[in-house]
């Protein structure tokens, strides 16, 4: 187990290293100069050079990248004129646009994204697995076909359409909910949930279908397996066959999907965030891309990548406990 975890940690670091190098390379190749954007409309060549120097853009790419790595591991000093700013490890640098440390920016946004993703994840798991079980237990029934149709409609509906409809219905016509904004959980848990309910629903309803389908298929497969026949031949009641035996096998592949999914969604909820005015990681990333704010892009990408790898590792660990045949090596 320890060996396995060590190996996974080394792998994670390798993935993140590669990821950061890729992001650097991509932004080097792309057209556009962040310094020019900062400099404004009337920009003198001297000013531009100064900004270049300040941002470190006058150095060759590999040197910029090395400095970035150095900051990440050991921290680094930024000197602008006479004053020296120390940025402690893990230092992701300063935003080109706002001059704020990237770590701070990410930490501000992370609770929003976590609240949104984890809340939605619970919902889509409940909705997806629930409907999948109903469908799988009565394949071809009216309920199965109705749920299949609804699920299809759910995936086919773009997030912004579904979100807008929910907003109109619940906030405008029925006025049951306030227009969403972000209230931290620590401040007011009730308001937190109230404000996030619609974003959660939007995200969950468009995602649940995958779980619903997977649950249905897996359940049907397992119910056709030999060991289920054995239980029937030994007079085990159907309720217990499903509740104790079939369900367990059905849930194991869900774990794998869920682990990957939560990590992926964490950094890619920009549509939902924009629609409901939530200051999350997705929006931060998109804004940074548009202004060629490389340190922010790299930081946000690394955080998202980290979330995916961690989610995946957790899923593998869970799988090990869920399925006695799986050994971690």
């Amino acid at each position: 187990m320890t060996r396995y975890l060590l190996r996974r940690i080394v792998e994670t670091l390798a993935v993140l290293l590669l990821l950061s190098a890729c992001v650097y390379a991509v932004f080097y190749v792309l057209p556009g100069d962040p310094a020019r954007l900062i400099c404004g409309k009337i920009c003198l060549p001297d000013q531009l050079t100064a900004i270049h120097q300040k941002l470190g853009l006058d150095q060759p790419l590999w040197e910029q990248y090395l400095h970035f790595l150095q900051g990440l591991v050991a921290g680094r000093d930024y000197s602008s004129g006479p004053s020296v700013n120390h940025c402690p490890a893990p230092c992701l640098g300063y935003s080109f646009q706002t001059d704020q440390p990237v770590t701070g920016l990410l930490l501000d946004r992370l609770p929003v994204s976590l609240s949104l993703t984890l809340g939605a994840a619970v919902l889509w798991l409940v909705i997806g697995v629930g409907t999948g079980l109903v469908s799988g237990l009565r394949p071809g029934s009216l309920a199965d076909r109705a749920l299949t149709a609804v699920a299809l409609a759910g995936t086919a509906t773009p997030v912004f359409v579904l979100g807008l409809v929910l907003l109109l219905v619940f906030c405008v016509y029925l006025a049951w909910l306030p227009f969403p904004g972000y209230v931290p959980l620590t401040e007011d848990p009730v308001a937190w949930a109230q404000n996030l309910l619609l974003p959660w629903l939007t995200l969950a309803l468009t995602t649940a279908v995958v779980y619903s389908r997977l649950t249905r298929t897996t359940l049907l497969e397992i119910l056709a397996e030999d060991h289920i026949r054995t239980l029937r031949a030994y007079g085990v009641p159907e309720r217990r066959i499903i509740g104790r035996h079939a369900l367990r096998g059905t849930l194991t592949p869900i774990i794998t999907l869920f682990g990957l999914h939560v990590g992926t969604v964490l950094g890619s909820t920009v549509l939902t965030e924009s629609l409901f005015g939530l200051p999350g990681l997705g929006k931060l990333l998109i804004d940074a891309v548009n202004t060629i704010d490389v340190p922010v892009v790299v930081g946000a990408t690394l955080l998202s990548g980290f979330a995916i790898v961690v989610g995946n590792t957790l899923a593998d660990l869970l799988y090990h406990f869920a399925d006695p045949r799986v050994h971690l090596t």
């Binding site: 026949r229 007079g235 035996h245 006695p324």
Partner: protein, 514 residues
């Protein structure tokens, strides 16, 4: 009368699997239901426990257990009968237990369900029955998961589950067909012992007449869902009254009947020589350890062994499909001169291509091979040689029976005019009557074309029918290599003797018996 079946009929949409079947099984009696695939024997077994409820199958007729008709019993009451009064053991022990629960848990929970015994007592019962079926160190193994058990142990565990409830009837559906012969012999002995001790009646479904002869007092021969013949096993198998039964009995390969008209083999050159070949898979134990042998032109070398003996690995190395980790294989000829025929003809053909296209494949991959009409002529010839008309060229694999598909697989091997043909369990998935035909075909083409042939099988009797010389393998080692006559009549190695003595044989087949 324990079990009485009258007019049992099972219809699936469009097909009648069991047609008006009647038989009785007395207290403590044993009946073997034999038949080829599709004869309805497994459907019959499942119908006895009412396992078709809730499926699309339509069941009519009566299944009376001690005077109670199980077919009309309400679900709740039937559940109380299942396991408790009539229990079942299945063919594939690898998948018949839930992989997520320990073996002990599964036995204990079924026991608890029927007897309402306390948790502790149920667990003790599980240990007790596992002990009784011969699981070593049962007190500890009760906590193992099914994947930690070998196939034979899993089958024992399933029998233990049945045993815990002391049913009056045990239905066993091909319980040893997936097991090695030595393990099969152990399970058969176990079942016979348990029947003698507990007095439960045994209904044993099998395709293997020799197994039926060993386990049962009576035999019921089925074909197309109907009973063909029924009677004491000795009488039916030695003096069958029905032509179909006779056909079936005659098709069974015999261990001690020499190969039909063996040709005096003139000494010839080696077609393929294996020099000190060892192989190990990544992280695995050694699959092969220092094997050296040769196959001469015009000769058939049989290779027998149990699962895990390395016989298939050796076959693949000889075919050039797998480079050995050590040693080398000397073969004089191109890659297409070595052809292989596999066990499962259903999955060794691309289901989306016509048979003709698949058979032509070895020609088309050749750089300077024939083209156009020459290819279709060659395909037609090859199909004809294996007894399939040219009309099979345009058929798809699913339109062929298992035997026809295996014929097509042989045609595909022959079309490249190979010097060496390797058959890996090529008849193991086939019914005996079909198997007999394929064995005849293999012998014929080998004679005609003077091929060197390697015939890999777990079935000693089948190997005897086709081989000039036989190699016996165990745990990756070659334990004995001799000409067929010597190996079967005067085996030298103890393991060969064990294999020969445990292989089920039809009555009177074994000269040293009685």
């Amino acid at each position: 009368m324990t079990l009485s079946v009258k007019g049992l009929t099972v219809r699936y949409p469009g097909v009648t699997a069991v047609d008006d079947l009647s038989f009785d099984l007395p207290d403590g009696g044993s009946l073997a239901v034999v038949g080829e695939s599709g004869s309805g024997k497994s459907t019959t077994a499942a119908a006895l426990l009412g396992l078709h409820r809730g499926t699309r199958a339509q069941v009519t007729g009566t299944v009376e257990l001690d005077g109670v008709d199980l077919t009309t019993l309400p679900d709740e009451r039937l559940r109380a009968v299942r396991g408790r009064r009539i229990a079942m053991v299945f063919q594939d022990p690898l998948s018949a237990l839930d992989p997520f629960f320990t073996v002990g848990d599964q036995i204990a929970s079924v026991y608890r369900l029927h007897t309402r015994a306390a948790r502790r007592a149920s667990r003790q019962k599980a240990v007790e029955v596992l002990n009784r079926v011969g699981i070593p160190d049962a007190a500890r193994r009760v906590r193992a998961h099914p994947h930690e058990f070998s196939g034979g142990m899993r089958q024992r565990a399933l029998i233990a589950m049945a045993l815990a409830l002391e049913p009056s009837v045990l239905v066993a559906d091909e319980p040893t067909s997936a097991l090695d012969v030595t393990v099969q012999a152990q399970i058969l002995t176990l079942l016979a012992d348990l029947r003698a001790q507990s007095g439960m009646a045994l209904l044993f479904v099998t395709h293997d007449l020799a197994v039926a002869a060993q386990i049962a007092d009576d035999v019921l021969v089925m074909r197309h869902g109907r009973a063909v013949e029924r009677g004491p096993v000795r009488r039916v198998l030695t003096a069958p009254a029905e032509p179909y039964t006779r056909e079936l009995v005659d098709a069974v390969p015999r261990l001690h009947t020499p190969r039909a008209a063996p040709e005096p083999a003139a000494p010839r050159n080696a077609a393929v020589t294996v020099h000190g070949v060892s192989h190990h898979y990544r992280r695995g134990a050694h699959a092969l350890k220092g094997i050296s042998l040769e196959v001469r032109e015009g000769e058939t070398l049989g290779i027998v062994g149990e699962s895990g003996s390395g016989k298939s690995t050796l076959a693949r190395i000889m075919a050039g499909l797998l480079p050995p980790t050590h040693g080398r294989v000397a073969f004089d000829g191109g890659p297409r001169m070595r052809q292989m025929v596999f066990q499962d003809p259903a999955s060794s053909f691309n289901p989306r291509r016509q048979i003709g296209a698949s058979v032509a494949e070895p020609l088309l991959t050749a750089r300077s091979g024939p083209a156009g009409d020459a290819v279709s002529d060659a395909v037609g010839d090859a199909l004809e040689r294996v007894g399939l008309g040219p009309e099979y060229t345009a058929r798809y694999p699913h339109e062929l029976s298992g035997g026809q598909r295996q014929r097509a697989a042989i045609a595909r091997a022959l079309i490249a005019r190979p010097k060496l043909m390797i058959c890996d369990e090529a008849v193991s998935a086939l019914d005996v009557t079909t198997q007999a035909g394929i064995l005849r075909l293999l012998t014929d083409v080998q004679r005609e074309l003077g091929l060197a042939m390697v015939f890999v099988s777990h079935d000693l009797a089948v190997v005897r029918q086709v081989s000039d010389r036989v190699a016996v393998m165990k745990d990756g080692e070659l334990v004995e290599l001799a000409d067929a006559e010597t190996l079967f009549e005067a085996p030298q190695h103890p393991y060969t003797r064990l294999l020969l003595s445990t292989a089920p044989a039809l009555d009177g087949d074994r000269p040293d018996s009685h």
